[in-house]
Amino acid sequence: MPIPLLMNHKPVHPDITVADLVEQYPASVGYLSEKGIRCLRCGEPVWGTLAEAAKEKGFNDSQIRQFTDDLNTLLLG
C-alpha cells in the first residue's frame, strides 16, 4: 500500500539521517529491513546517514540511489 508523503517533508535522499528517516517516514524502516539494512537497534535509530548505513552492509552508490528512488516512489504513491 502506498505510504502518503507527509506535508513539508523532503524526498528521501542518501544523506538523510537514519533518525530522521525513522521519525518522518516510519514505513521506510520495513523496506530497508527487507534489504538487510536495520535502522533500529537496541531501541534507538542507528546514528549516521542512510548512505552510511547502506555502505556498512556492502551496498554501493548506485544501489543506494535505487533505494532512495524506491522509497520516494513508495512514499509518493
Partner: protein, 543 residues
C-alpha cells in the same frame, strides 16, 4: 588539605527490596508513582551547573500509555553542544585536581542519597518512563546504580594504590592522570544504572563529560543528574545534554579535545562513532579511548541431561523480563529433541498466564516495549515468522499499540538454525529456538558459536559435567558473560563484570576495575636521590 590515605573496604551489593504487600517500600513507591503521574515535568539541559531551556522540546511519554505525557524535555542545539564541551573543559582543571578520595566521597554520597532519599523517585521515574515493573526498576535504578557508585569508588581506591616497585636509590610513582580532554558518554534507555556507570567511571578517574542521554529515558536520567548535583559534584563535571544523537555526535566527534567515548547502545551506532573518530584522527590531540558495549544475540543452550523446569524458568525470565530489552536477554535457544515435548508443554502453559500490562499494576510480569519504532520493528520479526515455512509461533505472537506498546511474550520454533530471528538482534520479547537431535550436541555447539556476529551473553544448561566442559570450551569466544545452569541476564556489579567481544563491544567489563583503567592516562615518575656525576661505566676502564 586532607592527607589521609584512605583505603575502601570491598562494599556489599545493595539488598533488593521486595515490594511485597504490606511493606513500607511498597507504600512509598506507590505514593511516588501517583505523585509523578499527576505532574508534567519541565526537563532542562544542565550545562556548567546551569539549567538551560532552549524552547525546542520533546515529549516524554509512558510506553504503556503513550497518550500520557510525563515531561517535556528541552533539546540541545549546536550552541548548547559547544557550550557543554566548553563547560567540561573548563571544569576539568578543577576536577582533575580533586584528590581521588574527594571524588569518591561525592559518589558514595550519591549512593547514599539514592539508598535513603531518592529510591522511590528514581524507581518510579524508571517504571513510568521506561515501562519497568517495580522489581525490574528496583534492581536497576536503585540497586545496580548504588552498586556502580560504591564498587567503582572501591575499584578506584585499588587502582590508585597500585604502584610500581622502587629501588633504594630511587622512587617510582605512577600518577593516574585523567585523559587530556573531555569524555563523550552516550547512554541507552534500558538501564538507568548504565547511564550512571557510563558517567561515573570516567568521572571518578578525574575526567569531565558531555552526556547524551537516550531520548526514551529522560525522566529518570534527569533525576539521576540532580542526585549527582546534590551529592556535591562541581558544575561542569557532568553536562546533561539531551538532543539528537546525530547533531550532538557531529559536533563532539569533530572536537580536537575529544579524549574518549563511553557508549552503550547498538553496534551500528558504535561503528558509526568509531568510523568518525577514524576519519577525524588527525584533528585530535590524543587518540580517543573508545569503550562500547553494544548488541547481543544471547543464547540458552540445553544439553539432554538438563532439568526442563530449570530451563523453562531461565527462558521465561531470561527472554521476557523487561520485555527482552536487556542487552543480555536470551533471544535464541538450542533444545535437545528428547526434552522438547515436556519443555514445550511447560512454556505453553506458563506463557499463557503472562500478559504485558501497566507497571502500576504490580501483578504484571511484563510491561510495554519502549516506543512505537521498537514496537513496529519487533512486530515485523513476528510477522516474518508467521509467514515463513521454516518457522512456527507456538506461544504469543500478538501485539497491540492502541494504548501502549504491548507485545506478547513470543516463542518462535524454527527448523533452520540460521533463521533470521536466530541471527539478528530484535531487542524485544521474542525468543527463537531450534530443536536438535540429542546426539548432535557438539555439532550444534559449533553452530551456536558461528551463528551470530555478537558475543555478549550465553548460558549452558546441563547436569552432565562432560557436556558442561565441552560447551565451556567450544563456546569460549561466544559470550563475554557465560552462565552455567543460570539465565544469561542479571549480571551483578562486582560479581559478574559485564561485557562481550566480537560485535558486542570492546569488552571493557562494566562493574570492574578493568573499565576504570580505560579512563586514565598514567604517567610514571622516577625520582633519583643521588644522580651519577660521571657518564662512563665501569666496563669502559682498562683496568
Amino acid at each position: 588539605m586532607n592527607n589521609a590515605l584512605y583505603n575502601f573496604e570491598r562494599p556489599k551489593n545493595e539488598p533488593v527490596l521486595s515490594y511485597a504487600p504490606g511493606s513500607n517500600e511498597r507504600v512509598c513507591l506507590k505514593d511516588e508513582l501517583n505523585r509523578q503521574l499527576s505532574q508534567v515535568v519541565d526537563i532542562p539541559l544542565i550545562i556548567g551547573g546551569k539549567e538551560i531551556r532552549t524552547g525546542k522540546t520533546q515529549k516524554v511519554v509512558m510506553p504503556h500509555n503513550h497518550s500520557h505525557v510525563l515531561a517535556h524535555c528541552h533539546q540541545a542545539g549546536e550552541a548548547e553542544v559547544k557550550m557543554a564541551i566548553d563547560a567540561a573543559l573548563k571544569a576539568r582543571d578543577i576536577w582533575a585536581n580533586f584528590t581521588w578520595l574527594d571524588r569518591t566521597i561525592i559518589m558514595m554520597k550519591a549512593a547514599d542519597l539514592i539508598r535513603k532519599k531518592y529510591r522511590p523517585k528514581l524507581n518510579a521515574a524508571t517504571m513510568l518512563g521506561q515501562s519497568k515493573s517495580a522489581h525490574q526498576a528496583e534492581i536497576d535504578s536503585a540497586c545496580e546504580t548504588i552498586d556502580f557508585l560504591t564498587f567503582n569508588s572501591y575499584f578506584c581506591s585499588k587502582i590508585y594504590s597500585d604502584q610500581p616497585l622502587s629501588e633504594v636509590e630511587n622512587l617510582n610513582m605512577l600518577e593516574y592522570r585523567p585523559l587530556e580532554g573531555f569524555v563523550f558518554t552516550v547512554s541507552p534507555f534500558n538501564f538507568t544504572a548504565i547511564a550512571a556507570n557510563l558517567n561515573v567511571s570516567p568521572v571518578l578517574m578525574g575526567n569531565t563529560v558531555v552526556w547524551k542521554p537516550a531520548s526514551t529515558a529522560l525522566l529518570s536520567n534527569y533525576y539521576l543528574m540532580k542526585v549527582f548535583e546534590e551529592a556535591g559534584l562541581p558544575a561542569g563535571v557532568i553536562n546533561f545534554v539531551p538532543g539528537s544523537g546525530n547533531l550532538i555526535g557531529g559536533i563532539v566527534l569533530e572536537h580536537p579535545e575529544l579524549a574518549g567515548i563511553h557508549f552503550t547502545g547498538s553496534t551500528g551506532t558504535f561503528n558509526h562513532l568509531w568510523r568518525k573518530v577514524g576519519e577525524n584522527l588527525s584533528k585530535y590531540r590524543s587518540y580517543p579511548k573508545l569503550v562500547g558495549e553494544t548488541g547481543g544475540k544471547d543464547f540458552i543452550f540445553v544439553h539432554s541431561s538438563a532439568d526442563f523446569e530449570e530451563v523453562g524458568t531461565a527462558i521465561i525470565r531470561g527472554a521476557f523480563e523487561y520485555q527482552g530489552q536487556k542487552c543480555s536477554a536470551a533471544s535464541r535457544g538450542y533444545i535437545p529433541a528428547s526434552m522438547w515435548p515436556s519443555l514445550k508443554d511447560l512454556l505453553t502453559r506458563e506463557l499463557s498466564q503472562i500478559k504485558p500490562g501497566d507497571p502500576i499494576d504490580f501483578t504484571n510480569f511484563m510491561n510495554a516495549v519502549i516506543d512505537e519504532a521498537s514496537f513496529d520493528n519487533i512486530s515485523r520479526y513476528i510477522e516474518e515468522a508467521k509467514n515463513s515455512p521454516d518457522a512456527e509461533i507456538f506461544a504469543g505472537g500478538g501485539y497491540d499499540k492502541s494504548v501502549g506498546y504491548f507485545v506478547e511474550p513470543t516463542i518462535i520454533k524454527t527448523t533452520d538454525p540460521h533463521f533470521l530471528s536466530m541471527e539478528e538482534e530484535i531487542f524485544g520479547p521474542v525468543f527463537t529456538l531450534v530443536v536438535y537431535p540429542d546426539d548432535e550436541y557438539e555439532d550444534y555447539l559449533k553452530i551456536c558459536d558461528k551463528t551470530s556476529p555478537y558475543a555478549l551473553t550465553g548460558a549452558i544448561f546441563a547436569r552432565d559435567r562432560q557436556a558442561i566442559i565441552k560447551a565451556h570450551d567450544l563456546l569460549r569466544y561466544a559470550a563475554g558473560n557465560f552462565y552455567i545452569n543460570d539465565k544469561p541476564t542479571g549480571a551483578v556489579v562486582g560479581q559478574q563484570p559485564f561485557g562481550g567481544a566480537r560485535a558486542s563491544g570492546t569488552n571493557d567489563k562494566a562493574g570492574s576495575m578493568l573499565n576504570l583503567t580505560r579512563w586514565t592516562s598514567p604517567r610514571i615518575v622516577k625520582e633519583t636521590f643521588l644522580p651519577s656525576k660521571v657518564y662512563y661505566y665501569p666496563f669502559m676502564r682498562e683496568k
